[in-house]
């Protein structure tokens, strides 16, 4: 009776609160950890988001929670879908003690193999284009190369003198890694041999992204974002800095649009900007006041997903209208799966990070 009088919604809140306190979960839920990994599965049209709470799979376009998975990792810093979309690599670990790379099946998310070789968290794990090899990059300063049916990594690269924050395969099977020492090292995973060291950044390099294939067989630029408040474009195998652009605050995450024509840059002051790599003109996509953590860009060139703090946002162009999935509601949804936000329809598209 009381429930009816106070409304459907309030009733749910009571029950949630009651269940919370009974389950002793209120302490945990009083704060939301930031979402530190985002990945998109093309086939399933689903978005995966990882944080200290574990991994959640959300539906596209409804942002409805499909499932949540406790990966038994203290933190998750990267989720990477294999090219054939049969597997997912989950990377993270326990800060200060160990770094873990997990191979899970997709979409079941069953754990198949786990490598615990790093001494601190793994920030990035990158697949080679043919799916036969992958590379991990860690806070401990080392990068390791793995392949199928190997119990352990077969090469450890030691060329960084600080934490390594990002890794990506560039051309000819070589890998570019970058991190706290401000350098981008291009090296061969087969031998561990260094090909080039790109030194022009004057601060920690936070993110790397290789331009997707475009028509006309043009060369593909490597973009990097750094603490020195620049985004730079390189020819990675030649080692040449082509051009760069300055930002008012540190750009922390970058992603190319599917057509390779624009780079979406998210900054620490909450600015999300679309940058043209040739003319260096930029346009503001969105502006909030919290730090942008991850960006994944869209398949149809219409949308990107951005996580800032514990929110995930889908931003759509050409109007760049923003729709937001508010975090508290997501939290409740996380644990109870019953609550539906009373808001305008939310849609977001996703595309594999490349």
């Amino acid at each position: 009776m009381v429930i009816q009088r106070m409304g459907h919604r309030c009733g749910r809140i009571f029950i949630s609160a009651l269940l919370f306190s009974l389950l002793g979960l209120d302490r945990i839920c009083s704060a939301d950890p930031p979402i530190t990994a985002l990945a998109f599965s093309l086939k399933q049209r689903q978005l995966m988001a990882g944080s200290q709470k574990g991994m959640v799979v959300l539906e596209w376009p409804g942002l409805k929670q499909v499932r949540l998975k406790d990966c038994e990792l203290e933190s998750i810093h990267d989720i990477s879908v294999s090219p054939d979309e049969k597997h997912v690599l989950v990377a993270g670990g326990s800060p200060g003690s160990s770094g873990v790379v997990q191979m899970r099946s997709w979409p079941e998310l069953e754990l198949e193999q786990s490598w615990n070789e790093h001494q601190d968290v793994v920030y990035k794990v990158a697949w080679r284009a043919d799916g036969q090899e992958w590379v991990s990059a860690s806070w401990d300063g080392f990068c390791k190369v793995y392949s199928w049916n190997a119990k352990a990594s077969h090469i450890t690269m030691t060329s960084h003198s600080g934490p390594v924050f990002d890794a990506t395969y560039v051309l000819d099977g070589s890998v570019a890694t970058a991190g706290g020492d401000g350098t981008i090292v291009v090296w061969k995973p087969g031998s561990g041999e260094t090909i080039k060291v790109l030194r022009q950044h004057t601060g920690t390099v936070h993110a790397l992204a290789l331009q997707p294939v475009r028509e006309g067989n043009q060369e593909r630029l490597l973009a990097s974002a750094s603490e020195d408040r620049t985004v730079r474009f390189w020819q990675p195998n030649v080692g040449r800095l082509v051009r760069f652009h300055r930002f008012p605050s540190t750009p922390g995450s970058i992603a190319w649009t599917r057509d390779g024509r624009s780079l979406i840059v998210g900054c620490d002051d909450g600015l999300v900007v679309q940058l043209d790599p040739v003319s260096l003109t930029s346009g503001i996509v969105s502006q909030r006041d919290s730090r942008v953590l991850s960006i994944v860009a869209d398949l149809g060139d219409n949308l990107i997903a951005v996580s800032t703090g514990s929110d995930v946002r889908a931003i759509e162009r050409p109007e760049w209208a923003v729709t937001v999935l508010p975090s508290t509601h997501a939290t409740l949804a996380w644990y109870l799966g019953a609550f539906r936000p009373k808001r305008p329809k939310i849609s977001c598209w996703l595309s594999p990070r490349f």
Binding site: T158, S159, H160, S161, D181, T183, V197, R199
Partner: protein
């Protein structure tokens, strides 16, 4: 790690971190440990009669001298390689080939650490064992030695070649315990110490009379009779030195053979080291030899190896040091002086693990290297270590206070004994440092 050094490391770290509130409990346990540590010292302590301090002014890069690194990125390794030495397992920079031959005589401390990264204050920390900042003006190690020990010869007990730095002074002990700077350049053919010979017309008799008159004048305002007046000790020392010809000959490098002079190298630093050897041979307590120029913010290849652009044979800082240092050690050994002469080579800090944009390195006090030899030091060893890229101490951190404590004990001076300032304040010769037991 044994009980004493383990816990003293703990207390040391805490003292590092805590500002102000030095827990009195911690302090007294520190001195307890030091005293007990003294009691357990083997008899090799106190063997050194003299000390030669090679002061590498400016902060020498540890990565290009005594702590080179191998498997590291190029910007850490620097432009030079490392070479094996006479002692298996110890490597030095390729710029130190002669030193590599005598590494069995050296104790290399690779984990010296200090919080001070500015020349003036860092100099003071290394040269006195005390961090600056209090109202007290601390005396340098040489001045403490001069104060502690009566000089048997008319030569001053504390000499700097060719000149001193302000932190090498006597602080509150008064300028009579300050160093005697010889001035000039020992490498020059006409080198002599100024004003040692009588001015024309003056002789020994007049000298004594002048001294006597000085006493009488100083006695005027006091109630003392003239013969009871103590003159400025520096004046006394000057009078003594002038009237003792054998003492003056100590400064005459012409008495050394050309072969010997050549072995040390013809540059100022080399000849200064030779002069230092002559002086300790004649009983001088501490000779400090200055090599300037180690503040290499630019172009390591030019300053550390080449010396000038286009040099075919390197005559920069490190080769010059290498030649003179190895010559000094070998010479002392040949003359059977090495056991009683402590040789210390140090600067005020190290340099940044990563090269800067000018091809040089900047100040880095967090970890650096100091080398000791002779005077009872057990050679052929490395004490402590820095981490993979030479950025922080990895194990067995050593502070400049520890270094001072060790030097004092090797010279037979009790670091816990007290000096008194002019206003009656007792100051321990060394505070907060502990003896590096691995040294002997």
């Amino acid at each position: 790690m044994d009980y004493f050094t383990g816990s003293s490391k703990q207390t040391m770290r805490r003292d590092f971190l805590r500002i102000g509130s030095l827990v009195s409990m911690g302090l007294s346990s520190q001195s307890f440990l030091a005293k007990t540590a003294n009691a357990n010292l083997p008899t090799r302590i106190g063997k050194a009669r003299s000390c030669i301090l090679l002061w590498l002014d400016g902060g020498p890069s540890h990565l290009e001298t005594f702590d080179p690194k191998r498997d590291v990125p190029e910007e850490v390794r620097g432009p030079f390689k490392s070479i094996a030495t006479k002692v298996p397992g110890i490597e030095l920079s390729e710029l130190l080939p002669s030193t590599a031959r005598i590494t069995d005589k050296l104790a290399i401390v690779r984990s010296v650490t200090s919080p001070l990264g500015e020349h003036g204050i860092a100099n003071q920390y290394l040269l006195t064992g005390y961090q600056p900042g209090s109202p007290v003006n601390y005396p340098s190690i040489g001045s403490v030695l001069a104060h502690h020990r009566q000089s048997k010869s008319p030569l001053p007990n504390y000499i700097t070649v060719p000149e001193s730095r302000s932190s090498m002074g006597a602080g509150f002990l008064g300028s009579s315990y300050g160093p005697f700077s010889i001035g000039g350049d020992p490498a020059r053919p006409n080198f002599q110490v100024r004003d040692l010979d009588y001015y024309p017309g003056i002789d020994g008799g007049r000298l004594s009379r002048r001294r006597q008159f000085l006493q009488q004048i100083e006695a005027l305002d006091t109630d003392l009779s003239a013969d009871k007046v103590t003159l400025d000790p520096t004046f006394e020392q000057a009078f003594r030195l002038i009237s003792t010809p054998e003492a003056k000959r100590a400064f005459n490098l012409g008495e050394e053979s050309d072969a010997t002079r050549g072995r040390y190298g013809s540059r100022t630093f080399g000849q200064s080291c030779l002069l230092a050897r002559r002086l300790v041979e004649r009983g001088v307590g501490l000779v400090s030899v200055l090599q300037t120029g180690w503040d290499t913010h630019q172009n390591l290849i030019l300053s550390l190896r080449d010396g000038f652009s286009g040099a075919r044979v390197g005559v920069g800082l490190v080769p010059t040091f290498d030649q003179a240092f190895s010559a000094l050690i070998e010479d002392l050994e040949q003359r059977q002086l090495l056991d009683e002469t402590l040789v210390v080579a140090m600067g005020e800090f190290g340099r940044t693990p990563k090269l800067n944009t000018g091809g040089g390195r900047d100040h880095w006090p967090r970890v650096f290297s100091v080398v000791l030899a002779g005077g009872g030091v057990r050679g052929g060893q490395v004490i402590g270590a820095s981490d993979r890229i030479g950025e922080s101490p990895l194990e067995r951190p050593v502070t400049p206070a520890d270094l001072a404590n060790t030097i004092y004990q090797l010279l037979g001076i009790d670091p816990d004994s007290e000096l008194v300032t002019a206003d009656g304040r007792p100051i321990r010769i060394n505070q907060g440092g502990s003896f590096i037991s691995e040294m002997v």
